[in-house]
């Protein structure tokens, strides 16, 4: 067309072909389910099953955090929303005798509602301002949980929370809980995947890339940011409730700022550009400190160091390794 437009970069790699891709993915899901069915039996002892359970729940947290991140906002109160859901569900079942399977759902809805209310007010802040407010909100949650003795039992926390029972099956034992955690994780994963390719997902991604232009495309950016924040935080609330009914004990220490940072670390280390990164990050980082238990103190240092190292050397996270390798080996395509 003209002189300056001569350098045109190579096209982006072709992404998913929708119909056939769907079947491949369904096949993958089925394979994962079959594999999961045998997992508890194959793991050497209950400790490993426990770690698998924690990893699945971490996956739920990391995925839900990714949903919020996908509109370009970083939440530092993700653990607080998990805690909100946990306390809500635990109190419902302890005080009112609501069956845990139901209180779990209520906890999710309650957390999502709280997040929507908070989000409607704070989401007009962008970048670091938003991060700072979510940080402060997390601190408020911790203070409240510690000091509202009548309801939360303060630093002592809530004990003997009922395990989840569904159709007469108790998901209290570790190896039974695994199936529930796996089902919840898969549900979150499939939901996130469907969401990311839905009209909402397109709106989220537009906002993340260029919020002003997104607004100019007729996308109600304020509304979609609240939606993403509410969905992400609501799922975190369910995850927190799962923990409450699994460990059967919660305290303000279960859901601190450091947990929020840990979820962000999973996102960063796994890769932020697509939701698979959250899964990879959770799968990589959750078992790590458990196996480093012998080196008291060292586990957190390694956690932090890995995060900085990944940021420094692999900004795209672990999921970018294949493409980075391809580039390094001179494929160029």
């Amino acid at each position: 067309m003209n002189t300056t437009d001569t350098t045109v970069a190579p096209p982006a790699p072709k992404s998913r072909a929708s119909a056939s891709g769907l079947w491949t993915r369904l096949a993958l899901v089925a394979a994962a389910c079959v594999a999961a069915g045998f997992t508890p039996g194959l793991l050497p002892n209950l400790f490993y099953v426990h770690i698998a359970n924690l990893t699945l729940i971490s996956g739920i947290f990391a995925l839900s955090l990714w949903i919020i991140y996908s509109v370009g906002q970083l939440s530092l109160c993700h653990a607080a929303f998990a805690g909100l859901g946990a306390y809500c569900s635990a109190l419902l079942s302890l005080r009112l005798g609501v069956p845990p399977a139901l209180s779990l759902v209520i906890a999710g809805l309650f957390t999502a509602t709280m997040a929507a209310l908070l989000g409607a007010v704070i989401l007009r802040l962008r970048g670091v301002y938003f991060v700072l407010v979510t940080f402060l909100f997390g601190q408020m949650f911790t203070l409240l949980a510690l000091n509202w003795q009548d309801v939360t039992n303060g630093a002592n926390g809530l004990i003997s929370i009922a395990p989840i029972k569904l159709l007469g099956i108790s998901f209290g034992p570790r190896s039974m809980f695994f199936y529930l955690a796996f089902a919840m994780f898969m549900a979150t994963l499939l939901f996130t995947w469907a969401l990311s390719r839905s009209t909402f997902g397109r709106a989220f991604n537009s906002i993340e890339q260029n919020i002003d232009l997104a607004e100019s495309c007729g996308i109600d950016t304020a509304r979609f940011q609240v939606i993403a924040f509410a969905i992400g935080s609501g799922i975190a609330g369910v995850g927190g409730a799962l923990i409450a009914h699994y460990i059967r004990y919660i305290s303000p220490d279960t859901f601190t700022f450091h947990n929020s940072v840990a979820y962000i670390t999973m996102l960063v280390v796994g890769g932020r550009s697509i939701f698979w990164g959250a899964v990879v990050g959770a799968a990589f980082l959750t078992p790590l400190p458990e196996f480093l238990r012998d080196f008291e103190g060292l586990q957190h240092i390694i956690y932090g160091a890995i995060m900085v190292l990944v940021l420094r050397t692999l900004p795209g996270g672990l999921i970018s390794i294949p493409s980075t390798l391809r580039r390094l080996t001179g494929g160029g395509k």
Binding site: L125, H258, L298, Y303, G304, M307
Partner: protein, 289 residues
């Protein structure tokens, strides 16, 4: 004790923590203003400062002046190195830089935990004795903290106003492009600003070590307060940090005296969130572009 005494006592306590918050917030806001990085590791440098004070002053019995100098130099150099090695490459994106400081914070805090253990260590006062003002009685050590912190803040202010480097820093904070055009070497300003920023935190840590105790977790609260102060005063505004620090110190001290510590803490957080919503740029901050 009558009400009057209580209030005077609260005022002095408010000044003590207020000047400390101001010291913390100045450094924090300096780094944000110049580098656009929210430093989540700021509190850890406060913690390092208080450990330096513990070892040099309480263990090795060196003069307190040496303690302060050691804190400034050691932490300043380490800070500049951290900026150069870890933050510089990630500065491009506000969120990425901030996440890096989260990682640095975790590493520093847990390293201290591993070496020094979690139990708090008491530290002797720098000056002993009591002052009597009317009905109220204060320890000299508190007055000392106020005066010393005021001196440090004054020195920092002079440095920013009068020295070439200080003026260059302000220029960079105002407009990086324009500063570049004026021939300011931004790449040298960044580690310097980060070093100064965390050195101020270390000074605060060293001076507060006798007031609170020394442990790997002492940096957490001052950092939280620095956040609050900086939001009150406006991210990037140094006068805002000083005023906000004093204001928060007073609110906290009087609030705790009159309403109880827990209510005061909750009120603070609610107040800050409210201010952010009404005036996102803070009480004295510039409008974000």
């Amino acid at each position: 004790m009558d009400m009057m005494t209580l209030l005077i006592q609260a005022g002095v306590n408010g000044l003590v923590i207020g000047t400390m918050y101001a010291l913390m917030a100045i450094g924090f806001t300096l780094v944000f203003g110049i580098m656009r990085v929210v430093n989540f590791a700021h509190g850890e440098f406060y913690m390092i400062g208080s450990f330096i004070a513990f070892f040099t002053y309480a263990q090795w019995q060196l003069p307190f002046v040496v303690t302060i100098l050691a804190a400034v130099l050691l932490v300043g150099v380490v800070g500049a190195l951290v900026e150069w090695a870890l933050i510089r490459p990630l500065r491009g994106d506000e969120l990425t830089g901030m996440i890096a400081t989260l990682g640095i914070s975790v590493v520093i805090q847990n390293t201290a935990l591993m070496y020094f253990g979690a139990s708090p260590r008491p530290m002797p006062d720098v000056i002993s004795g009591l002052v009597r003002v009317g009905p109220a009685v204060f320890s000299w050590s508190r007055i000392f903290v106020i005066i010393a912190a005021a001196l440090v803040i004054g020195a920092f202010w002079l440095f920013m106003q009068k020295s070439r480097t200080g003026r260059a820093m302000r220029a960079v904070a105002q407009d990086r492009e324009a500063a570049l055009i004026q021939g300011i070497d931004v790449e040298k300003i960044f580690p310097l600003a980060f070093g100064i920023s965390v050195a101020l935190a270390a000074v605060a840590g060293a001076m507060m070590a006798p007031v609170f105790s020394v442990s790997p977790f002492v940096g957490v609260t001052p950092m939280l307060k620095a956040f609050i102060v900086v939001i009150l005063g406006g991210l990037g505004s140094i006068p805002g940090a000083v005023l906000g620090g004093l204001l928060l110190g007073m609110i906290e001290s009087f609030g705790a005296t009159l309403l109880g510590a827990m209510v005061a803490d909750m009120l603070q957080l609610a107040l800050v969130i409210a201010i952010l919503l009404v005036r996102p740029s803070g009480l004295m901050g510039r409008k974000e572009a």
